[in-house]
């Protein structure tokens, strides 16, 4: 169970004023749930993820994972980045095994585990290739396998499919849904796509910028159906889906009177 209590992150801006990237955000991520944070650029969703990952210190508030305070990066939180962070000098299987190597697992054991995970993400045949011979979507799958290899308590995914073409992105969403259904990992997923948020989230939190805070929270269950059928078509045309989508859209594109869209 990940608990975020009154988390605030403040940066100094170039003109000397303070930027409230995250303003008193509280959020629980329960086991077996996918929490998706959606919002426009600058709403603090990536700041939230970086703080949970331990890359960024909180100015105020606290984040605990199973009761333990988070203050630095660690292997109990697996991160999947938007940018490719695979090591070009290591083969795909050794990239997946990297976290196990850090943990001191023997070479044969960690490669065996890495191959299982590559099988899970459908890349068993590419284990011995260097990562730069893989397509963008395949590299993200390797990134997912790498994050899963150390069996972290929570997966943090920072717009992982944002740079992919729409067809590959759909495939990756299917993969994540089915991997989640099989492993039951708790996931925090960041996106700027409302449809992606609703397709994948068991909980969708809508964030708004300046100051970055959570403005609404929705429960959804489309991901269970998605994981089962692997078919996104019926979900996208589900009336409840459309209704929620429009509601969130209205929240994100708030009237200019609020001063958020300038």
């Amino acid at each position: 169970m990940l608990q975020i209590r009154d988390a605030s992150v403040t940066f100094p801006a170039s003109d000397g004023s303070a930027v409230h990237a995250l303003d008193h955000v509280s959020l629980d991520i329960a086991p077996d749930s996918i929490v998706v944070a959606v919002g426009a650029s600058g709403c603090g969703k990536s700041t939230l993820l970086n703080a949970i990952a331990g890359f960024l210190p909180l100015t105020a508030g606290s984040i605990t994972l199973d009761g333990e305070e988070i203050d630095r990066p660690g292997g109990d939180r697996g991160v999947v980045f938007q940018k490719d962070t695979l090591l070009p000098w290591a083969s795909v299987v050794d990239n997946v095994a990297l976290g196990l190597k850090f943990a001191g697992v023997s070479k044969t054991a960690r490669r065996e585990r890495a191959r299982e995970l590559l099988d899970l993400v459908g890349l068993a045949d590419f284990a011995d290739k260097p990562p730069y011979e893989l397509s963008g979507g395949m590299r993200q799958r390797v990134g997912l396998a790498r994050a899963l290899a150390t069996d972290p308590k929570i997966l943090l995914m920072d717009e992982p499919f944002g740079a992919l073409d729409s067809l590959t992105r759909e495939t990756m969403q299917q993969l994540l849904a089915s991997v989640w259904a099989r492993t039951g990992k708790q996931v925090l997923f960041i996106t700027h796509s409302i449809e992606e948020a609703l397709t994948l989230g068991t909980t969708v939190v809508v964030m708004s910028p300046r100051p970055g805070r959570i403005v609404a929270r929705f429960e959804a269950s489309f991901v269970r159906e998605f994981a089962e059928t692997g078919d996104i078509g019926p979900i996208l045309s589900d009336p409840r889906f459309i209704e929620l989508r429009e509601e969130i859209r209205a929240l994100i594109h708030r009237p200019a009177g609020k001063g958020t869209l300038q």
Partner: protein, 286 residues
Amino acid sequence: MTLAADPRTVFTHVQPAPKPRRQPANPTSRSVPSGTLLISTITLLALLALWFAATQLGWASPLFLPSPAEVLTQFQAVAVDGYADGTLLQHTLSSLGRILVALGVGVVLGVPIGLLMGLNRWVRGTLSVPIGLYWGLPPLAYLPLLIIWLGIGESSKIVLLSLSTFAPICFSAQAGVRSVPAERVNAALSLGATRLQLFTNIILPSALPEILTGLRIAVAAGLSCLVAAELIAARSGLGYMIMSAANFLSTDVVFVGLILIAALAFLFATGMRWLERKLVPWKGKI
């Protein structure tokens, strides 16, 4: 379309595997020469022909431009009988030895110090000033000082050359550390890397391409310093041989020396390319 929860079925259909890049297949890529080897060879032959013609047709006096045949004869003579107190092989080995020692010193000192400078603000702040100051000087400007301090023997030349190879290697190692992508470091930390693991598994290999670039620059800087130092103060080496020959207007021996230095430079450049292919095959691919 209904896909099972097993993700394997999900992907195998949707994404066709891209062809591995390094396939020796594709005959067209082989038959169409993509390199410049042939063009370069023709250029080299044309230059030789021009040289031959210039001397045959008397465009220039043999004193200024000896014929290829004369140079070849002189090459044999110097190789067998020697010139300026040494055979060609001895002069070459003497030069080669100096530059290899200097490169060794440059790598052994430059890489760790440069890495430290990249990792630590204090080391960087302290060392970048003195290294930057002397690296800005033309090495031949402080060679007289080194001769005053260390005498005219090997040590002054070795120190001069080592100084000229140390700085580029050191600065490139520093730049290599500084250029490691922050996401790569964060990824390793979130996979549970300790500081030592981060250094050996991420930072060092990430900095390797830059270090090799620095080594390339060091080879070029070292070669030019080597010959210049030998011209001024040496009793052996290709530069010394050229200077001695020039004093007696033996232009043909000067040519022998120049050709050998060019061959050395070419050998080093080829060696560096081989090293880069061997050590950083991923360079430029990400």
